[in-house]
Symmetry: C2
Subunit: 260 residues, 2 copies
Amino acid sequence: MIVKHLTRRQILGPIGIAAGSCVLSSCLSESASSPLDKKPGFPWPYDKLDPQITAERAYNDHRKGHCMYGAFVSVISQLAERYGEPYSSFPVGMMRYGAGGAAGSGSLCGALNGSAALIGLFVKKEEDMKLLIDELFLWYEQTELPTYIPERPALDAKIPTSVSNSILCHISVTKWCKMSGNKTFSKQQKERCARLSADTAAKTVELLNAHFAGEFSAAHEFDDEVKTCRSCHTKGSDRSDSRGKMHCRICHSSLAVDHP
Amino acid sequence: MIVKHLTRRQILGPIGIAAGSCVLSSCLSESASSPLDKKPGFPWPYDKLDPQITAERAYNDHRKGHCMYGAFVSVISQLAERYGEPYSSFPVGMMRYGAGGAAGSGSLCGALNGSAALIGLFVKKEEDMKLLIDELFLWYEQTELPTYIPERPALDAKIPTSVSNSILCHISVTKWCKMSGNKTFSKQQKERCARLSADTAAKTVELLNAHFAGEFSAAHEFDDEVKTCRSCHTKGSDRSDSRGKMHCRICHSSLAVDHP
């Protein structure tokens, strides 16, 4: 463990090497030629965090900047308090854009977008980064959420759980509202999304902790239906005419009628 | 215009005020209480950029880190070369996560994710940020793309255009492949996405230039079909049971059979 309040140069100077990905205690930076390549180190070092503390922060930060902001800040703020720079200078306010699947568009769930950004920030090797994000996304698609119970809830009520079968905000939120009988944009939906952001941030920290401890292995996989679709349509298959890893029949629901 | 190579503290010290959003020549920073609130300024200042130069950069940067990275770096790198910090310290490598709709998941197009992140970084007032992202997303959904012709193409071929009707990578890519007769993950598809990233980054700079010149007005709106759907399903409507702004019938294609 390093001491607190090191400067950016002290943390990320020409001390170490960047090979794949690193934790604060073991490795550091790199250097190259253009202004952006001369930046003080990428990936940024990660240090083990507590999932429960991270969840509480994400829940509370959700109120300040919504889902992507909450998930992202829950992690960066802990590292900023522990080490100062460069974490304390990250312009976290930018992450407000991810709310409601990016400016309310309903695409990628903001909690997932912010969590994937964290994984991208800490894990340099693309293959590892993808494995962690794949696991996070499959967990989100297949798990009854939210499960997090806040210490000081904004809305002190029992929040029903649902399985989204989708990483898209539009589907995740709409399914939950339909199942629970709540309207979109209601205080119940906002509370559900705040707790979901807490769950997602905690899961992200679990995955990062495992990765940097050399203990990560995927616990989720595509379900059988998706595997069947992918056997014909994805990269290297017969048709190779589709791109993506999202659950198929959540949108392609009418395929059974005339599909092989 | 400020001189080059100012330090982060010089640019973002206690000189100015942050009211809504700002350009380098007119306003600067703010201060507050927690470690992250003490960060050296948010939003980051924007300065007018050339769309064509931005497009060329996004196209070339696409090769280094894919779509989200290409779109984001095309802008940050120009400001880093012009002003140094804080732009030159942004850990741009994190943006690789957005490739293929986030780790290949096929959700939000990475070029849009990176461009929305830029808008989030420069535009503080949430209402303005959303208006700019809405316009970018509608432009992307409704426009024949790609139109950008690279100076030094990686693949020197005529690239067909298509209208995606969607901000999702899965649909945008799959529709283009189907229309053009190319396979996903082919060199043609990669070239199409590199040029699309260039178009998207150029459009983002056009929007930011207009916003900071006080000249922005939306040129795109929901099509009539989407307006009809939203009249019953979105916030404040009779049912208020859906969230999102994406084109509806691109997924809800079988609604005509039994829908009012």
